[in-house]
């Protein structure tokens, strides 16, 4: 189960509202490589993990992604506060505003609503972990792109923290693949699915 801690993982203190920047950063809320996709991916993949270490990594990284989702929401909340009609009218944010005002609705920067199709759960732990490595790189690239599009030091501080976390998660998923492979041998890396084919006898014995 989940218990909510009433604090951000890392502080977000953005002094200057900027709806145009919010329009871009919202991709890390509801976009293909954002924090909602990441949390849903890892938290659902964990059910077909046959190895405790891997289940632990998927659970704990997935939970941390929910905390990141909250940080992105905090960034967007602060970037869209106290806006005048002029500020909204003259920015690409107007098309989001008409449907959502300054509420937070998970969409990509293009306006496409979040789609579970961004998430893969193949029920084969090796397959799923390879998707996870790619997912962390895609998230890192998205944060790189956001950093190219702003000079605001308050925004950059929060974004750089989130970007660093993606790099660490990438390392942990690398560890997870090694751990999963250590349970197999060179004859059967891909000959069966360790999440499904129990008869193979390589399921962890308690």
């Amino acid at each position: 189960m989940w218990l909510y801690e009433k604090k951000l993982q890392h502080p977000v203190k953005i002094k200057n509202p900027n709806p145009q920047l919010a329009q871009i950063i919202i991709s890390q809320l509801g976009g293909p490589d954002g924090e909602l996709a990441a949390s849903m991916r890892y938290l659902h993949q964990r059910y077909s993990s046959p190895y405790d270490e891997v289940t632990g990594i998927l659970t704990d990284v997935g939970t941390e992604e929910l905390a990141h989702l909250e940080m992105v929401a905090a960034i967007l909340y602060q970037l869209t506060r106290n806006l005048s009609e002029e500020q909204i009218k003259n920015s690409p944010f107007a098309t989001y505003f008409v449907d959502h005002t300054t509420g937070l609705y998970p969409v990509a920067a293009s306006g496409t609503p979040f789609d579970m199709k961004y998430v893969g759960v193949k029920g084969d732990i090796l397959t799923d972990l390879h998707e996870d490595l790619a997912a962390e790189q895609k998230a890192r690239t998205t944060y790189d792109n956001i950093l190219r599009l702003t000079d605001d030091p308050d925004v950059k501080d929060a974004i750089q923290f989130l970007r660093q976390r993606e790099l660490v998660h990438f390392q942990r998923f690398g560890d997870a693949i090694r751990i999963a492979q250590d349970h197999l041998d060179s004859k059967n890396f891909y000959a069966f699915n360790p999440s499904f084919d129990k008869a193979s006898g390589v399921f962890r014995k308690k």
Partner: protein
């Protein structure tokens, strides 16, 4: 004691400093738990984890009782007041 730049030597931490210290400790704990998930027998990591959670318990207790700020719905220490829902909420600047 895990090194801390936000506590002047010998003086009590105020509530803002306690909040910042809790954020820092919890971040270190999350990072250590991810590492231990992959390396569960690493003695150094386990020892670091134990030190962190011990200090964390003390900082959280101070925040909950002295500052009246529960960090989860299970930490509301004031029997006469539901402080849990009191603002500011984490996404508001005043909370950070």
């Amino acid at each position: 004691m895990v090194a801390c730049k936000c506590r002047p030597n010998g003086s009590q931490m105020n509530c803002d400093a306690l909040h910042a210290r809790l954020q820092a400790l919890d971040f270190a704990i999350v990072e250590t738990t991810l590492y231990l998930d992959a390396y569960p027998t690493c003695a150094k990591a386990l020892e670091y984890y134990s030190r962190l959670v011990a200090e964390r318990a003390a900082v959280a207790e101070a925040l909950h009782t002295q500052c009246g700020k529960p960090t989860t719905a299970w930490d509301n220490k004031n029997p006469n007041s539901w402080d849990w829902i009191k603002g500011p909420w984490p996404w508001q600047i005043e909370a950070n």
